[in-house]
């Protein structure tokens, strides 16, 4: 890693060596994260760096590590686990073997075996991880196995037992998810190719079924709901029986993989205009010398790349932490409109005007839009097959609404979110600028009645008391 400019981020990345793999790092169980196809489209110098300057791959590895040695980039809003503390009374001199730790108010000093390592996040010893020989919870004195190289100062940040959550998440993820979603979260595990729809590739940082508004990421709550209840109508199973802390750890790990993928994509985007294989071929064809291009690349990597990485990290941090705030949450301004034949009729009218094009007049998901050939996103050509494509280049059929299976959940609020905010990463658009909240509720009422229609548009005779808001709506 180049020093100077890259220093800040480096110091805040803490290695979490997986205790599992310690001592058997060359075992057959070793796995690694793969890089995206976009990274592979760059010239080798941009991928792997040049003249000691980090390229995309090293940038990513330095901040995220590999499955056996995960790294915690503290900038990111991920709970890696562990308790934060600060160094107390300054130990004097070099070769410090004993330190006093202080905890913020409200954090209880961990006891006994929980304190197996201390990682220095800030100060002169930053980046060091020291094994703890003995720990006295009362005084907060940690005796280290071996002396530190740097000398910590009072107030330096440390993490005790860091990485527990993410490490646990990794183990559970490998066991339950990786055969579909892949070790790197690329949606290409060994069973993936037999599934339709395909398992999600997290690396775009896009999730379809969320309760956040159309420009926000998925919240932790959204991911945890998906895990608990599965995605009906697809191969994504329910993991309801996992314990809460297990679900929590898996969610953090999924977010970690998503952010890793997004970070990589952001770096590549920065480089691909000038340094993709295709672009370099074009430039050399028009007379630029390859050596000149490489020189420019070296300069860019030396001077700007760390900043690029840092601001990419900031963007990620901002976006992912916002998703967990209330502002990001979809909040209808009116409650669900009572489910009545009038409401459904209104819903049907709106449906025919805006939805039937994709979902079909009778809701079977066979509207005329499904037969067109779409343009490829970054080429001047058409997709080879007809249909609506999603973010990942897969054909997604508009849902067959006559079946009453809703992948993102069947609560009225779930359907409200789908329609008001769209389904992220797919062609299902957000209608919040088109319809009032009230109208969206009319459509929700109509959509929920489609499976029970005798004929398209003929409202079913009886209406079950589906909503306690309007018990009078029954018949």
């Amino acid at each position: 890693m180049s020093l100077t400019s890259g220093r800040f981020s480096w110091l805040t990345v803490v290695a979490i060596s997986a205790s599992l793999a310690a001592g058997c790092s060359k075992s057959g169980l070793e796995s690694s994260f793969v890089y995206s196809a976009k990274t592979d489209s760059l010239i080798p110098e941009a991928q792997s760096g040049i003249k000691g300057q980090a390229g995309v791959k090293k940038m990513v590895d330095d901040r995220f590590g590999n499955p056996q040695h995960l790294k915690a980039w503290s900038k990111l809003p991920i709970d890696f686990g562990g308790v934060t503390a600060s160094v107390g009374e300054t130990p004097s001199g070099k070769a410090v073997k004993e330190i006093l730790l202080q905890f913020e108010e409200g954090i209880t000093s961990p006891s006994g075996d929980a304190v197996s390592s201390v990682q220095f996040v800030g100060g002169a010893a930053a980046g060091e991880t020291a094994a703890v020989l003995s720990w006295d919870a009362e005084s907060g004195k940690a005796t280290l196995v071996s002396a530190l190289t740097g000398s910590p100062a009072q107030g330096d940040q440390v993490v005790i037992g860091g990485g527990e959550v993410i490490r646990n998440g990794r183990v559970l993820y490998q066991r339950h998810c990786s055969h579909c979603h892949g070790t790197s979260g690329d949606g290409a595990g060994p069973t993936a190719e037999y599934l339709n729809p395909r398992p999600r590739d997290y690396r775009h940082g896009v999730f379809k079924f969320t309760s956040t508004n159309s420009s926000s990421k998925a919240s932790r709550e959204d991911l945890s709901r998906i895990l608990k209840y599965g995605i009906p109508g697809t191969y994504m199973p329910s993991f309801l029986l996992l314990k809460d802390d297990e679900l929590y750890a898996i969610v953090e790990y999924v977010r970690f993989l998503a952010m890793r993928g997004e970070f990589e994509r952001k770096l590549v985007t920065e480089l691909s205009v000038d340094y993709s294989k295709a672009s370099v071929a074009d430039q050399t064809a028009s007379g630029t010398k390859r050596s000149e291009i490489i020189e420019a690349l070296t300069a860019f990597l030396t001077e700007d790349f760390s900043d690029v990485a840092n601001s990419a990290g900031d963007e990620l941090a901002e976006a992912w932490s916002t998703a967990d705030t209330e502002e990001a949450l979809v909040a209808p301004t009116v409650g669900r409109v009572a489910d009545s034949p009038e409401s459904r009729r209104r819903g049907r009218e709106l449906y025919l005007s805006k939805c039937a094009d994709c979902h079909g007049v009778s809701g079977e998901g066979n509207g005329p839009q499904t037969t067109i050939f779409e343009k490829l996103p970054d080429a001047d050509a058409l997709y080879p097959e007809a249909g609506l494509h999603d973010e990942w280049g897969n054909v997604t059929k508009p849902r067959n609404l006559t079946q009453g299976i809703y992948r993102g959940g069947r609560r009225p609020i779930d359907l409200f979110c789908r329609m008001n905010e769209g389904i992220k990463g797919t062609k299902m658009p957000a209608f919040k600028t088109v319809f009032s909240n009230e109208d969206v509720w009319h459509i929700v009422n109509y959509v929920l009645s489609i499976p029970f229609e005798a004929e398209p548009g003929v409202s079913p005779g009886s209406i079950a008391p589906a909503t306690p808001v309007a018990p009078a709506a029954a018949e």
């Binding site: 599965g230 329910s238 029986l241 909040a331 009225p412 009645s449």
Partner: protein
């Protein structure tokens, strides 16, 4: 050395005897004591069959050992005795097992009837099923009727949905409709000693009466695909009040419209 094999074959019946006595009495390899009265009767049948099998195994192995011992004790000059083709022997080992099987078939009939034949089901289950338990690659989808309604075979607008978890009241017989959406699966609740295949196209009623509140496992007992092992679910048995409260909670969740009064006032 020749006698080694005789002793070898006599050794196993002794092991079998120890295991077949210890396993049911000490509960080795059993998923706990049977959780239901029906389970106890099924356990009884199981033990009976285990007994018969143990006796048969011990008998045949002792006989095998005895034959070997006999032959080993004789001098090399004795000619072997061929029993092959003996009509009476054939008759014996056909008729004796046939009677044993016939006995088992007759003996288990009342348990079978109560467990599987609908007209013998307890009265309480005849009002309908509490839920539909739908197997699917690779999970169990549960559908309850709306509160106060009865379960229909077809989905109804007010139905309540859950996955991998079934709540039923303790202390009274309840019935569920076992179905599958795709391939064949099998509903297996080991602690309740219940096992029933789910067959595509059929709605199979399964009843049980669990006296003790608690969580009971469900797994799939029919190799149904690569994700077979994932098909774990649980039956939560609790008081009727707790079940009612659970249903209300489900209904509340499933009618959630995300509307918060304050949020609107701020507008």
């Amino acid at each position: 050395m020749k006698k080694f094999w005789a002793i070898f074959f006599w050794f196993w019946p002794v092991v079998a005897l120890v295991l077949c006595v210890m396993a049911p009495s000490q509960g080795w390899w059993f998923p706990g004591p049977p959780g239901t009265q029906m389970g106890e009767r099924i356990q009884g049948l199981f033990e009976l069959i285990l007994g018969i099998v143990t006796v048969t195994f011990i008998g045949t192995n002792f006989a095998l050992g005895w034959v070997l011992w006999q032959a080993a004790s004789k001098g090399d000059d004795k000619k072997a005795f061929y029993s092959h083709g003996s009509h009476s022997l054939e008759l014996i080992w056909t008729i004796v097992p046939a009677f044993v099987l016939l006995f088992i078939a007759l003996y288990q009939m009342d348990v079978w009837a109560e467990y599987r034949v609908q007209s013998f089901y307890p009265e309480e289950t005849k009002q309908g099923s509490v839920a539909e338990f739908m197997a699917r690659q690779f999970e169990w989808r549960v559908r309850y009727p709306a509160i106060g309604e009865t379960l229909k075979d077809e989905a109804q607008p007010g139905d309540l949905y859950m996955v991998n978890e079934l709540h039923v009241p303790a202390g009274r017989p309840v019935k569920i409709n076992l179905r599958t959406q795709d391939v064949q699966h099998a509903f297996f609740a080991p602690q309740l000693r219940l096992k029933q295949d789910a067959v595509p196209g059929l709605i199979i009623p399964v009843w049980f009466d669990v006296p003790k509140a608690g969580n009971y496992d469900v797994t799939c007992a029919e190799l149904c695909g690569w994700g077979h092992y994932k098909m774990k679910a649980r039956i939560v048995v609790e008081s009727q009040q707790a079940v009612d409260a659970y249903m209300r909670k489900l209904q509340e969740e499933q009618t959630e419209d995300g509307f918060v009064e304050e949020a609107a006032e701020e507008e």
